[in-house]
Amino acid sequence: MSAFRLLRPSVGLALCAVFLALPAQGADAGKKNGPVLLSPSDGDRIPRPEVDANCPTGQACRKIFVIGRVAAGQTPFLAVTPLGASPQRIWIQPPIVATKPDGTFDGFVYLGTDREGVGEKFSIFVFGCPQKDRFKEADLLTELPIDCAVSPPVTVLRLR
């Protein structure tokens, strides 16, 4: 009886610790597994030195390569919204050809046209969707999809 009395606070503390730890683990897991755009980074200026070498010097740089990651079982889609557009418009970009085993992928996105978009900011998203044919290139959305996981936006400034 006395041993139980001694143990009881410890058991309670342990249960509390487990209870408090559970949501934190879940949150970490979600953060780790959600879709994310790895490159470019938020605040980058386009063209990025060394990275956007495909943009000819002195000419418009409207197409850039990006790297992203999605969780296992998700199909990645890239989307771009020009911040200058009102109302909001989100454009689905050319499809991702393949996803690596670790969930990372390469792709490219368009930031405006040759004559439109210079000096403007664009937000780039990665959508991780359960369906492979959820979107098609050039689809126009007015809001973020609720049936797909959406990465935090990465906003870049196109300088030329």
């Binding site: 020009p82 405006g112 046209t113 290139e137 050039a138 300088l159």
Partner: protein, 495 residues
């Protein structure tokens, strides 16, 4: 407080008045009005002094005092000196320690009893808990003392044809830095978050506030002008954990939409709106598609493009609509030729208002070449079907084949030939049950030398257009009120 710094500032009619000599005295003129004393550290107003006639205080100086929030005690005296007498304000600031009575020798330090230590401990805990509340109250009090709703004010003004000016007034005790991003696409700011304009030697101080003024000239523009959003970002000093309402993120990030036109800068320009009011989405339309387009604050031509569902990445230019007069709205009907679209399903009409494109008829654009931030409207439509043969302007023989496809179910197809000079409509066949997306052929008979229109009618009533019937005009509905869908016309001539 710095050594030698009095710790307070006297303003006379809004301007700092410095003390003369070493006596913290200020001579006042008869024309002086408001006299105020502010604590340098907290920024609070300590006193507003009502001026007297010099004669009234010549022999009987008026004295008052006030506690200073940052510590100490302020005594100020309004008197008069000289001949003729002139008002003199003298102010004396004493630190708390120097005015504390010290009439008895310092008692010997003794060990505090246990209850006193417990009380002190409890007081410490309460003090810690109250810190956040106190800091919020201090901020609120500080802001409230300003007499404003906000501890800052941001005002934009168009000061020249292409010059935008911003005036930012900040409380120096609340706001630490101010940044401006002009949103000029031709000249992006060198720093990602804008240029820092405060603190700056150019800022003008007025009591506890600084007034910062900055200007930017946008480049020459043409056409519909260039839209931009100027952004002011205010960075406050360290804030309590719970922010005062006046310092929310929204309020600290001030934006101003501008439209730079050839005539000047428009602040808060009306939002451009482009809408297809008719037909309804997914409606079945003829190849001469009539669109009712609503335009508001549209400044550039509206280009109409068509994109077939089978090839949505390519936009075909179909025509343009001129913008309404500046400041006017419009709602007008326009007809575009959509033949060749929707042969195997739906198609999309995309309207884009831009002067960045100068398309020519039938020119095709990849989707990514269409400006994406320009005013835009889209509508998905369907054709009832399409005439595949003969092609427009083809030469036909006396009896020739008409080939067509229907895109809707449950219809009966009739081919009709319309000699333009003769003027009537000749039904060529007994109505055929048309299967969805299945081609059908009919041998049509053309008469004498004339220009002909070839039509295909799709009707739900198989008895509406019997073979050999000659009609004065095309029926648009059957006896039950169901619509008759007309494909065409395709203009041909006899070879």
């Amino acid at each position: 407080m710095r050594h030698g710094d009095p710790g307070f500032t006297v303003y006379v009619d809004g301007e700092i008045r410095k003390f003369t000599g070493r006596s913290n005295a200020i001579q006042l003129d008869g024309s002086d009005g408001a006299v105020e004393i502010f604590d340098d550290e907290s920024g609070t107003r300590l006193a507003a002094i009502q001026l007297f006639e010099p004669e009234d205080v010549l022999n009987d100086p008026w004295t008052s005092d006030v506690e200073v929030p940052s510590g100490g005690h302020l005594t100020y005296t309004l008197g008069a000196e000289g001949n003729p007498p002139r008002l003199v304000l003298s102010v004396r600031h004493e630190a708390q320690a120097s005015i504390a009575p010290s009439t008895s020798p310092e008692p010997k330090r003794q060990a505090r009893p246990l209850w006193a230590r417990r009380v002190a401990f409890a007081a410490c805990i309460l003090l810690m808990l109250g810190t956040t509340t106190v800091s919020i109250v201090r901020y609120d009090q500080l802001i409230h003392d300003l007499g404003w709703d906000e501890p800052f004010a941001v005002r934009f003004a168009a000061v020249d044809r292409r010059v935008l000016q911003v005036n930012v007034t900040v409380n120096r005790n609340v706001i630490r830095e101010v940044f401006i991003d002009w949103g000029d696409s031709t000249n992006p700011d060198p720093a990602p978050d804008g240029i820092r304009i405060y603190p700056s030697p150019d800022a003008k101080r007025y009591r506890r506030t600084f007034v910062i003024s900055a200007r930017h000239e946008y480049p020459p523009v043409s056409g519909e002008g260039v839209s931009a959003t100027a952004r002011v970002r205010l960075v406050p000093f360290a804030l309590p954990r719970t922010r005062p309402e006046t310092l929310t993120e929204d309020k600290l990030h001030h934006t101003q939409a501008v439209l730079v036109t050839t005539d000047g800068i428009i602040l808060d320009p009306p939002q451009a709106r482009l809408r297809v009011a008719a037909p309804e989405p997914q409606a079945i339309v003829s190849t001469a598609t009539e669109l009712t387009v609503e335009m508001s604050a549209i400044r550039a031509p509206v280009h109409v493009f068509g994109a077939d569902a089978t090839n949505p990445l390519t936009y075909r230019y179909l025509g343009s609509i001129p913008p309404p007069a500046p400041g006017k709205k419009s709602r007008e009907a326009h007809v575009v030729d959509t033949s060749g679209l929707g042969a195997k399903g739906s198609f999309k009409l995309v309207l884009v208002s831009t002067s960045l494109l100068a398309p020519v008829p039938a020119q095709e654009f990849p989707w990514q070449d269409i400006p994406r931030a320009a005013p835009r409207a889209e509508i998905e439509l369907r054709h009832a079907g399409a005439i595949l043969e003969p092609e427009p302007d083809a030469a036909v023989s006396g009896i020739d084949t008409v080939r067509a496809v229907a895109s809707i179910r449950g219809q009966y197809a009739s081919v009709i030939v319309h000699p333009v000079r003769e003027g009537r409509f000749w039904v060529q066949n007994a109505p055929l049950p048309a299967l969805e997306f299945a081609e059908f052929r009919v041998a049509a008979r053309f008469g004498g030398r004339d220009q002909y229109e070839v039509w295909v009618a799709l009707a739900a009533d198989p008895t509406l257009l019997p073979e050999g019937a000659v009609l004065e005009q095309r029926p648009l509905a059957d006896s039950a009120g169901r619509p008759v869908y007309w494909l065409g016309p395709v203009f041909v001539h006899l070879e």
